[in-house]
């Protein structure tokens, strides 16, 4: 069994819903070192020798298997950059669960920059879940700067669920994707900021092959004095379909900047963007109050639903 303290276990539950050692392949990184790792018959996890990070190789045709690579940090002042590369073989069908939880009870900033690259083989399907979470009463900030690069071969599909709901003081999230013919990318991002938090999320998706399709949807809530910037650019270099949507609830004194962008370089690139920012409708609160909730309970329920 892994040797983790209660804080580390709590972080692990928050970012990966893990209560015990996961099934399948995994690597659990705690305070900058691996505290548990397992490869399986079809999934090999190899530590890198030149930089900190892992190489994860998934054999072609691997079906219904999972990889968990959560990161927890509970020592104040840690700063790290981790390079993880995923090679997903042709026709594989896997779930990859990443995520980082930082508990900072000290005065120094803690920072984790995860650089993830996905090389997705022909016809493969990947579901990628990434949760970010921060806690702790210290004045040191909790900083996460994930970079995600996705290279999709023909007819592959990737579903990404990116969640950052609580406690991360500063984040700059960069996601790039390049899709070959027939490939499909679906991104669902959920973000909530509060206090004086600052979050920037930038997407650049390049649809390079015929019939490639991307759907990038962000739902966010900015509370108190926080700031969010969402930039999503979809580039159509072939006959393709692209859609990006940013839907935000603004509260208190928060600020939100949404910058959707589309670039069509061929006639048959069909690209759509939608962006909406607004406060919670008063009627929504009133309706839930008539059902017995208090005003603040109603507000929380509306936000919970919105970020579901």
């Amino acid at each position: 069994m892994l040797k983790l303290d209660e804080t580390q276990k709590r972080l692990l539950r928050e970012v990966a819903d893990l209560h015990a050692v996961p099934e399948g392949a995994y690597n659990i990184r705690s305070n900058s070192r691996s505290v548990g790792r397992r490869s399986t018959a079809h999934i090999e996890i190899i530590p890198k020798t030149d930089v900190s990070g892992l190489e994860i190789r998934i054999e072609p045709g691997t079906k219904n298997e999972s990889v968990h690579i959560p990161v927890v940090m509970s020592e104040s002042g840690l700063k790290e950059t981790v390079y993880n590369d995923f090679y997903i073989g042709e026709d594989a069908d896997v779930v990859i669960v990443a995520g980082c939880g930082i508990d900072n009870c000290g005065t120094q900033d803690s920072r984790h920059d995860g650089i993830h690259r996905f090389f997705v083989g022909k016809g493969a399907h990947v579901k990628y879940v990434e949760k970010h979470y921060g806690s702790g009463t210290g004045t040191g900030r909790r900083i996460l700067n994930p970079v995600t690069e996705v290279y999709q071969e023909e007819n592959s599909s990737v579903e990404m669920e990116m969640v950052q709901i609580k406690g991360v003081d500063d984040t700059a999230r960069t996601t790039k994707a390049a899709l070959a013919a027939g490939a499909r990318l679906v991104v669902r991002e959920r973000l909530m900021t509060h206090g004086v938090q600052h979050a920037v999320s930038t997407y650049a998706v390049s649809l390079d092959g015929a019939d490639a399709a991307a759907d990038v949807v962000s739902r966010s809530v900015a509370r108190e004095d926080s700031f969010q910037r969402f930039e999503a650019k979809i580039i159509g270099n072939a006959p393709c379909r692209g859609h990006t949507e940013c839907d935000s609830i603004i509260m208190d004194r928060a600020r939100i900047l949404a910058v959707p962008a589309l670039e069509a370089n061929v006639l048959d690139a069909a690209l759509v963007h939608e962006a909406a920012i607004g406060k919670i409708a008063g009627e929504q609160i009133v309706k839930l109050m008539t059902l017995g909730l208090t005003e603040s309970e109603a507000e929380e329920r509306i936000i919970d639903g919105f970020l579901q």
Partner: protein, 251 residues
């Protein structure tokens, strides 16, 4: 059950005060269905919102089961047993029909219990339970879900603000049966419906006619309705007249 005592409500209109409700005194008796009708702009919806606590009277008092609730909030009134169905149901992104019914019931309803409420309003429950209460639902569907949330409250006083508004006659015909059913199963509760529809007025025990913010008439249906037939206060329709033919949607 509910008593309005000399209730007035004004809003600022430019520099002047505009009186929407004028010195209304009204009693909703126990175990009765009371319909409030009258011309558009007469203050009917405002009256309903004053009862639910969404608006507060500028003058007068509101008593609920003998308790003065004039200063009580919407939430407090809900806790006392007042439920309110909006004329235009509110949409929510991400909140499912099941979630809304659970909030309304105030407990972790099972899917089967939630389905029972939806069936009462003529919705095929399994098609709806997991759907979001968002723009993908039609006006008629939203109206039924709105009514189901009020039923799920198990309220002492249920207030419906123009249930016929915003839906087609076909949907309305089916909806009438829901209210007929509610009328039959009234126990220790009362129902107040704001409506112009003759068929709703037809199932009321009492009718209140509100005009220019004041009660013009109030009395038993038999006494009040005949004088309203053919006026804008009691709108009939060919579809609505085919009373027996409205069918609940089958599951």
């Amino acid at each position: 059950m509910l008593e309005l005592q000399n209730v007035s409500f004004s809003v600022a209109d430019g520099g002047a005060e505009k009186e929407i409700i004028r010195n209304v005194s009204l009693t909703i008796p126990d175990k009765k269905l009371v319909a409030v009708t009258g011309p558009n702009g007469g203050g009917k919806s405002t009256l309903a919102r004053l009862i639910a606590g969404i608006e507060r009277p500028t003058e007068g008092r509101i008593l609920f089961r003998g308790e003065d609730i004039t200063e009580k909030s919407i939430t407090e009134r809900a806790a006392l047993g007042i439920a309110f169905a909006f004329q235009q149901p509110v949409r929510f992104k991400g909140i499912r029909v099941l979630d809304l019914l659970r909030i309304a019931a105030g407990r972790q309803l099972s899917a089967a219990d939630a389905c029972a409420y939806l069936s009462r309003v003529g919705l095929c429950a399994r098609d709806y339970i997991g759907r979001e209460v968002n723009a993908s639902l039609s006006g008629g569907e939203l109206k039924r879900i709105e009514i189901a949330t009020v039923i799920a409250r198990g309220a002492v006083l249920s207030v419906f603000d123009e249930p016929e508004a915003g839906i087609d006659l076909w949907s309305f015909r089916n909806l009438i049966e829901v209210f007929e059913d509610m009328r039959k199963t009234i126990r220790d509760s009362s129902i107040l419906i704001i409506s112009h529809q003759e068929r709703i007025l037809n199932i009321a025990d009492e009718i209140v006619v509100l005009k220019d913010g004041a009660v013009e008439r109030q009395g038993r249906r038999e006494d009040v309705l005949p004088s309203l037939i053919g006026t804008s206060a009691a709108v009939g329709s060919c579809l609505a007249a085919e009373s027996g033919e409205g069918k609940r949607s089958a599951c």
